[in-house]
């Protein structure tokens, strides 16, 4: 007799089995309000973890599933907002100091004086410093280049300063200065192709530095990727790695291209993938295809179970249609996927 998560809740009893615990967490999960993308990704990540636990239970690996369930906080809370980037006080002082200095030596002196007061660099000073570093070959540009490398090698503002100066600087000198700061030889901004490449490297560096380890969006996307990487083998599919920024769609593609699901479900998967026009849309389409395949397996489903599954699929489709964001759609899908696994394991009903 399958456990019924609803009746467990009605009785108000503490979860008695791993499946009960999993069901209680799945039913209790909700979208936190007010924290935007962070909160939605956090919820997606956690429901993916529940899916993983469900698959482990299905495979009889209760101890591994319990590790996931025990390590999960009681409630699904919104994460803390990302740390606000610090702004330096007195930004803009470098340009003023250089303007006031009279003569080459005085300008180097002014730069050194400014450096003595600058613990961190603001966007305006970063642009000025980059501009000085990209100037004609003299003591000032050499000193500026040295400062960018020794004092601000890990500054996102410096990366953005280079980006902004690249639009007005001499491409040759800018390439030399920026290559030195990035520690990458061979960058050349003198052609369109080269300028795009050098910009690309700078933007990526700026994003990485600005977001740092505290970038919860990056971390949560990475967590979702990892989660799919772990889920794929549990579903009998070959895990595949996607590119950076991929939500794990390569893993899902491997699952969908596998043998799961009926021929109509695979046909629908192909149609959905045709309709998707971006990475996030493909993620939703793959999830939906996976849900179809799990809910309507080729064999072993009674007419009554099939009707219940189709009803559940319609409910999931309604949730997707009414969702306010792609991530809410992904969460609705993931929730249904987890339940489908529970149903297939004979532990839950639709």
């Amino acid at each position: 007799m399958p456990d019924d998560p609803v009746s467990t809740q009605k009785r108000g009893l503490a979860p008695s089995t791993d499946w009960d615990q999993l069901a209680a967490r799945l039913d209790g999960s909700r979208l936190s309000t007010g924290a935007g993308v962070d909160a939605e990704l956090s919820l997606l990540e956690r429901i993916q973890a529940l899916t993983e636990a469900a698959l482990l239970l299905d495979a009889g690996r209760a101890a591994d599933a319990r590790l996931i369930l025990d390590g999960m906080p009681e409630s699904f809370r919104a994460p803390e907002p990302a740390v606000q980037r610090r702004r330096s006080v007195g930004d803009g002082g470098l340009a003023v100091a250089i303007d006031r200095a009279d003569g080459p030596e005085a300008r180097v002196l002014a730069l050194n004086r400014w450096l003595g007061t600058a613990n961190e660099i603001g966007p305006s000073d970063a642009r000025t410093l980059a501009l000085l570093a990209c100037g004609p070959e003299d003591g000032l540009s050499r000193r500026a280049r040295a400062i960018t490398q020794t004092r601000f090698p890990s500054s996102a503002e410096m990366a953005m300063g280079w980006l902004d100066v690249l639009a007005i600087a001499d491409p040759g000198t800018a390439s030399t200065a920026i290559s030195a700061w990035l520690g990458r030889a061979g960058l050349d901004a003198s052609s369109t192709d080269g300028a795009i490449r050098i910009r690309q490297v700078l933007v990526e560096r700026a994003i990485a530095l600005a977001q740092g380890e505290a970038d919860s969006i990056r971390q949560r996307v990475a967590a979702c990727q990892l989660s799919w990487g772990r889920i794929a083998p549990l579903l009998g599919a070959v895990p595949a790695r996607g590119g950076e920024g991929d939500l794990g769609t390569a893993s899902i593609e491997a699952i969908v291209q596998g043998s799961a699901g009926t021929p109509p479900a695979r046909d629908m998967a192909a149609l959905r993938l045709h309709a998707a026009d971006g990475e996030v849309a493909r993620f939703i389409a793959w999830q939906t295809a996976l849900l179809d395949a799990l809910a309507l397996p080729a064999n072993g489903v009674s007419r009554g179970e099939r009707a219940s599954a189709e009803h559940a699929l319609e409910a999931a489709a309604s949730s997707r249609a009414e969702a306010g964001s792609a991530l809410e759609q992904a969460i609705a899908n993931q929730r249904a996927i987890t339940r489908a696994i529970g149903v297939r394991a004979g532990r839950w009903t639709w």
Binding site: G36, V37, L41, Q84, R85, P123, R127, M160, L163, D164, L166, A167, I168, T192, D193, A195, I196, R199, Q200, V203, E204, A206, I207, A210, Q211, I217, R218, V221, G243, E244, G245, D246, L247, T249, M268, L271, R272, H274, A275, A276, D277, G278, E279, V280, A281, F283, I284, A285, T288, A317, R320, A321, A323, G324, S325, A326, L327, E328, Q329
Partner: protein
């Protein structure tokens, strides 16, 4: 001269709307599609919708996904692309019906244009008003701002307005979130296509259009077989 005469003859040859609608035959869904396109051109939006819907439903039933996709694109052409919803749904349906015949945003702006747009972002961020105003009026930059508008703070039009209206005495005060968003746009722009991370970082909230993959043609919403135009209305009988 011959061409002008041919056009005039063609105009004369096209029968008036009532006759044209009376002549529609469900065995020829193309006629519904052509009539829909003409109605849309004449500003008869409701009539165009009715014709495109019937064309799409008939073409799908006749196993002609290409024409059904054309009907879906016809429906999309009657919607406002800047308003997420119907326009995106009809485009998704068209891609679903005939993926090889519907452009999937494969066109990528030339490198020089993308570089200019990236430079515009730099000029704007640095408060360089003259350069921002100049590039803000550049046709390629305006087109790219529109294309990438969903990721830009304030949307494509809003960003161009901010650039062309930038004052040297009032550089933009970007919040960390807006600065990050501009970086995400640059990353996506330079890489030629947005990645999931770029879209998520920009808080791209639009939901993915939901099209019923079990029965895509049901989106055309003609389930009463009212194919014939009789007595000024759609009828299920010939």
């Amino acid at each position: 001269m011959v061409r002008v005469v041919a056009i005039l003859l063609a105009m004369i040859a096209v029968p008036p709307w009532p006759e044209r609608l009376d002549a529609l035959d469900p065995a020829r869904p193309l006629a519904y599609l052509e009539a829909g396109e003409d109605a849309a051109r004449d500003g008869e939006v409701d009539l165009a919708r009715q014709l495109f819907r019937r064309s799409g439903a008939l073409a799908a039933a006749a196993q002609d996904p290409g024409m059904a996709a054309s009907a879906a694109l016809g429906m999309a052409s009657l919607e406002d692309p800047s308003v997420h919803g119907a326009w995106a749904r009809w485009h998704a349906l068209a891609r679903m019906l005939a993926p090889t015949r519907v452009a999937r945003g494969a066109w990528v702006a030339p490198d020089a244009d993308r570089l200019r747009f990236a430079e515009l972002i730099s000029h704007y961020r640095a408060g360089r008003s003259l350069q921002a105003q100049r590039l803000g009026r550049d046709a390629a930059c305006v087109a790219l701002a529109r294309e990438w508008g969903a990721l830009l703070p304030g949307g494509g039009e809003g960003f161009i307005r901010a650039c062309t209206g930038l004052s040297a005495s009032a550089p933009p005060q970007l919040s960390p979130r807006q600065a990050d968003q501009l970086l995400a746009v640059e990353a996506a722009l330079l890489a030629r296509t947005p990645r999931a991370l770029d879209e998520l970082r920009c808080g791209l909230a639009s939901s993915v259009p939901e099209v019923d993959a079990r029965d895509p043609a049901s989106a055309f919403g003609i389930d009463d077989a009212t194919w014939w135009w009789r007595g000024g209305r759609w009828s299920a009988t010939k």
